[in-house]
């Protein structure tokens, strides 16, 4: 090997060394437990309850209802789009307890101490859309433990999604 080739090889090796070292750290082949600033800030770990929403904060999609003025009114027409969306969301979020037809016979229902209500029964059909919306939003007696008390779904579903589910539940009742 000529002197020039040797020099070029050495230079390339010197340049490649930090690159290879960086890659080894990046892909955690060499694992260094760095302290990251994201790690030391207030946060919640997987499977922990989310942090409570700060007082008087308004969701990015706007408030769900005006506080203390009575039943919120349904702003979304029960058209085909709303019912399709509501059906898909119901399937994911509600049917495990309430059953596919809303009869309170979902696969999880038999494990619960307090059975989910029949959504086609008088106790639910007589409720206004706004009352059903608030049940989805805040749950029913969640404070007594989740075995039978419906958990709040405000963190799982956006406002429009909840109204779509209300429309879908209404459509189940008319069947």
């Amino acid at each position: 090997m000529s002197e020039l080739a040797k020099r070029i090889t050495i230079t390339l090796l010197i340049l490649a060394a930090p690159l290879v070292f960086g890659l080894l750290i990046t892909y955690q082949v060499i694992h260094i437990d760095w302290i990251s600033f994201m790690e030391i800030q207030p946060s919640f770990r997987p499977m922990e309850n989310p942090l409570p929403v700060p007082a008087n904060s308004v969701p990015i999609e706007g408030p769900a209802y005006v506080p203390g003025v009575g039943n919120p009114l349904n702003p979304i027409a029960a058209d085909q789009i709303s019912l399709t969306r509501g059906g898909a969301l119901y399937e994911v979020n509600c049917s495990l307890c309430h059953g596919k037809q809303g009869k309170g016979d979902g696969p999880v229902a038999e494990e619960l101490i307090r059975k989910p209500p029949d959504l086609n029964g008088l106790n639910v059909t007589e409720l206004s859309d706004g009352e059903i919306f608030l049940v989805i939003t805040n749950g029913v007696n969640p404070g007594i433990g989740y075995s039978g008390g419906m958990p709040p779904l405000r963190d799982n579903l956006e406002i429009g999604d909840r109204w779509d589910i209300v429309n879908y539940v209404r459509s189940l009742q008319t069947k």
């Binding site: 203390g68 009575g70 702003p75 106790n123 007589e126 939003t137 029913v140 404070g143």
Partner: protein, 194 residues
């Protein structure tokens, strides 16, 4: 590049073209999942905010129910009460008292209505009690069936000894109340001044 190599490349390109054409000829798989692009924006409906009537009275919800319990008038018969300013007023059970049991987001922000848990199907209602109607409220709690009567919740006309008064003024109901609420309940517009 030799002729053989060129031939192989041409064959390869042709086979890719044939395979992709065959794929395109197949019917595309459709998904049942809804089109999420067409989300409807849930706009806040402000029609729920009613303007107070000019001759209306302002009264605390617990006091209003108490005034009705004291006289226990039938559904549409008027009963008298005094509003927060000491004004003499008149209301009816149907128009002024029943909505306190059948309206959500009233006792506090986001509160469920009483009938959400205490509905007309007493067999599956909490405390086997129906607070959705005049008949149900009078029938009381712990009922066997929709036709049977249970334990009185109105204190036999003595409001301050009533079970209903105890849970409302003790702020046990509606459940999960935030702190700092008035034990007399929310201030509502009800009835008309005499």
């Amino acid at each position: 590049m030799t002729n053989k190599k060129v031939l192989i490349v041409i064959l390869l390109v042709l086979s890719i073209l044939i395979v992709s054409c065959a794929g395109a000829a197949k019917k595309p798989v459709t998904h049942e999942w809804p089109v999420y692009v067409q989300i409807q924006q849930a706009r806040l409906n402000l029609e729920s905010i009613k303007t107070p009537p000019p001759d209306g009275c302002k009264v605390h919800a617990v006091d209003l129910i108490g005034s009705w319990v004291a006289v226990n008038t039938p559904v549409t018969d008027p009963f008298s009460f005094t509003d927060v300013d000491g004004k003499g007023c008149q209301g009816t059970f149907e128009v002024d008292v029943l909505p306190l049991f059948n309206t959500a987001n009233l006792w506090y922000s986001g509160a469920p209505s009483c009938r959400t848990c205490h509905g007309p199907e007493v067999e599956v209602s909490y405390a086997r009690m129906d607070l959705s109607s005049y008949r149900g409220i009078l029938a009381g709690k712990g009922r066997e069936s929709a036709s049977s009567k249970g334990e009185d919740i109105l204190g036999g006309g003595n409001w301050e000894e009533a079970d209903l008064y105890e849970v409302l003024s003790g702020r046990q109901m509606p459940p999960n109340q935030p702190g700092g609420l008035d034990p007399k309940g929310p201030l509502v517009y009800a009835g008309i001044s005499r």
